[in-house]
Symmetry: C2
Subunit: 363 residues, 2 copies
């Protein structure tokens, strides 16, 4: 069994991770800030998983106490929405050491960088290994407090640490087989951060379906009904801005279409076709309010840092800006002030060349 | 019976106008550029109207020939979408004289100004009386080539000429009673142009329902289902920008909420409530594609001139800009280049003070 693994967050992704690890024979501790979210699982310490991973998983611990949750774990899987990463960093700081591994799954854009900056600001000199994944490992949905459906274990999910490529390799090698099998180590975390496809798939389609989402009683399938050819075409233009920022970082990242082909093995000449040909999306429901992570996570932890960096490079970032402006004005939130802007990443006062050097410098 | 009245355009508004006038005893000639649009009506010369105005109206002429359509008419009712006004101006120019009255119903923003500028550019010195209304007189929907439902004759629709208030008064007095009863003459056309509420009610709600509109098979009621509280709140902020531009023109115009109360006699503390309390909106269907006048008319002939003028005055115009950018990028149309920009209104080379003087100068 080995040392326990701690899963932070009990949303869809947290339940899937905890169940998957436990059903693969790992000792698992599940933490969530709110007891209400844990619900039944708090007492039963069991999670039912159906779908691609099926079984009733028995956990070692389920708790709202961060000290109990971490204990002697050496691996922390952070599965909360990315907008909570900064709070998680502050919360775990007293309990982490440089020998630990923290995996943000997913990191969204510059998650590991933000996490490291937050720990340093708390006075930590020798940081744990901090890694981020390009996207969540599971296509999954929470069914109840203590049950989840895992539609698909994604293949070849990119993972990176803030360190040299060897550090990422070492991290992956140290993971239990069930996790290791899903990851591909990358040479630089710019690939995971700018490889974040959530901001492409989530923001514009949600914004361009506000009426449908908010109209009580109207339910629809997010990907299948909500993403029409013109919405997909606009999202592809947003994707072009993402690729352009990566290119200015000296890094070619795969397009959303290449990502679909690689991750889901679907065919398609454009984003609309890729989505339509992805059977795993068929049943996924749309959000029922604007207060959903498709905006509250992906705008501040995806589009905001993307725009900030693109602007430093002098790129126009038109569609990115449009989406941030629309989300901010609809939700009355200043996402640029609240999200992963350059200040929050510790890059505020630097010039373009300095930022490029800082970002490309290994951890 | 008196002289005939010519109705240009055979959409919902054109059929409603033609039927209403004919059923009130007027001689009516109906023109449309495309014979297909006229369909049955081309042969039968009859229009069936149901609802607030009910009956089978017999027209004097139904034609695609502009010369036949105008003949000895002294009143031209232009009911086409506003983005066609410039073409209509060029088309009617050889057949109009200074004794004629041209009513753009509605003018949208700066319709009369654009029409006059187009006629002047064709070398016309003594212009006809050109008037614009703040909004279409009828809440109506075309049912077939030759039938229309008039849900409501709107009360107190503002109308203005480009001339002094007395010219507008004379125009209204010269109209047949059935039209006259619906109009209120204003002191200045800034009130009708900036009083254009279509751009508030049509653009953002359409843009924020793109998925629902384009998803084949999903049908919904435009006002009742599609305009949720957060969409209405954003539209109210757009309305604030409209009021602010009017204020900088030295003109207080009524807010969208005041307009609802006055026009439909509905109660409501905010736009959402006004829409919900307006029974005439209950049955109005949403567009089924983005190629609908809610965007193709209201963006170039509402938001574009509004933004252009606001920008001259140094106002931020944030929501207006957002809506134009979103529509332009979704539809791949440069609405600012194509729409009623300052050049197209003949104001391009002028300073803010000159524009203010030009705009406030009577006709």
């Amino acid at each position: 069994m080995g040392q326990p693994i701690t899963v932070l967050g009990a949303g869809s992704s947290g339940l899937a991770t905890a169940a998957h690890l436990a059903l693969s024979g790992q000792r698992v501790r599940l933490w969530n800030r709110s007891a209400t979210t844990l619900g039944q699982a708090l007492e039963s310490k069991k999670i039912l998983s159906i779908g691609a991973v099926a079984g009733r998983a028995k956990l070692e611990g389920v708790t709202t106490d961060i000290r109990d949750a971490i204990g002697n774990s050496k691996i922390l899987m952070v599965t909360t929405p990315a907008n909570a990463h900064i709070d998680i960093a502050r919360l775990v700081a007293p309990h982490v050491s440089s020998s630990m591994k923290i995996i943000l799954n997913p990191g969204r854009t510059f998650g590991a960088l933000e996490f490291a900056h937050a720990l340093r600001q708390l006075g930590m000199d020798r940081l744990p290994t901090i890694a981020e994944t390009q996207t969540i490992i599971y296509t999954c949905r929470k069914l109840a407090d203590d049950s989840v459906t895992i539609l698909k274990l994604k293949q070849n999910v990119l993972i990176s640490t803030l360190g040299q490529p060897e550090e990422t390799q070492r991290l992956v090698s140290s993971l239990p087989e069930c996790l290791r099998a899903q990851f591909v180590a990358t040479d630089h975390w710019v690939r995971t951060s700018l490889g974040n496809v959530g901001m492409i798939l989530h923001c514009l389609p949600t914004l361009l379906n506000v009426g449908w989402i908010e109209c009580s009683g109207a339910e629809f399938k997010y990907y299948y009904d909500g993403i029409t050819p013109s919405i997909a075409a606009l999202a592809e233009r947003l994707d072009g801005e993402r690729l352009s920022v990566a290119r200015h970082m000296g890094c070619e990242v795969e397009s959303i279409i290449e990502w679909f082909r690689r991750t889901y093995a679907v065919a398609g000449n454009n984003l609309f076709e890729c989505i339509r040909n992805n059977e795993y999306y068929r049943t996924i429901d749309a959000p029922t309010s604007l207060g959903h992570r498709y905006l509250s996570e992906d705008v501040p932890c995806g589009l905001v840092p993307l725009e900030a960096l693109g602007t430093v490079f002098g790129l126009p970032m038109r569609i990115t800006k449009l989406a941030i402006d629309l989300a901010s004005n609809l939700m009355n939130v200043d996402f640029r002030a609240q999200g992963r802007n350059l200040d929050r990443l510790g890059l505020g006062a630097n010039s373009m060349d300095e930022i490029r050097t800082l970002l490309l410098r290994s951890g």
